[in-house]
């Protein structure tokens, strides 16, 4: 069975600071991608960043970057220069067999 663990139910960070959200997963598949989605209070699921599992280079998208450790099955998200609009639930999700498997999420609060 595929499992995803986000060990930080809640995190908070000062505006303009950097925060890292952790994620570990377990899958027996070799071909998959990994995603971070953001869910603001509107409940809309918004893609933040994605990583190809066969690439060693970590993905970066503006202020968002990942630290992907395939052997350890770890996929953390770093948010630099945090902004008030970053406040949301963040979900880590690998997609073995083209089906997203979600963790329980981390609620991120941004303190002004």
């Amino acid at each position: 069975a595929q499992t995803v663990t986000q060990s930080q139910p809640e995190m908070s960070v000062q505006e303009a600071e950097t925060v890292t959200l952790s994620c570990t997963y377990d899958t027996s598949e070799s071909d998959y991608y990994l995603f971070w989605y953001k869910q603001p209070p509107s409940r809309q699921m918004i893609l933040v960043i994605r990583q190809e599992a066969y690439k060693q280079q970590n993905a970066t998208e503006n202020r968002f970057s990942v630290n992907f450790q395939k052997a350890a099955k770890s996929f953390s998200l770093k948010i630099s220069d945090s902004q008030l609009g970053d406040a949301a639930m963040y979900f880590c999700a690998p997609n073995p067999n083209q089906k997203l498997v979600f963790g329980q999420g981390t609620r991120l609060t941004i303190n002004p």
Binding site: F35, R43, M45, R50, N95, L100
Partner: protein, 113 residues
């Protein structure tokens, strides 16, 4: 560009009543379609998955069913709702390639009373 719509946005239904949530995708053909459920404060759980018309895979045993009568239409149904069916339901689509992003609809809040 591709868009996904689902409705209704909010639904309050009594126990034992039927359910029908609809989802349509525009701007693409032969998409993979998904129904997810999100319980309060929790992650998303995959309920159903479809790779084509009439092809439905159920991921978890439950009181719900899904149908895909047309290429870009996905329907979530129940004949008799249970209290435990309450939650936030999200339809999603993807191209079927492992690297492609899965995109979500706006979601439907279902409260069973």
């Amino acid at each position: 560009s591709q868009t996904i719509h689902q409705w209704p946005a909010t639904l309050v239904q009594p126990v034992g009543s039927p359910l029908s949530l609809e989802c349509t995708v525009e701007g693409t053909s032969n998409p993979n379609l998904y129904w997810y459920r999100q319980a309060a404060g929790r992650g998303l759980q995959l309920l159903f998955y479809s790779v084509g018309i009439g092809q439905i895979s159920s991921e978890v045993p439950q009181n719900l069913s899904a149908s895909r009568p047309q290429d870009r239409q996905f329907i979530l149904s129940s004949k008799k709702l249970l209290l435990s069916d309450s939650g936030f339901y999200l339809c999603a689509w993807g191209t079927g390639f492992s690297g492609n992003t899965i995109y979500f609809g706006e979601g439907s809040w279902l409260t069973v009373v």
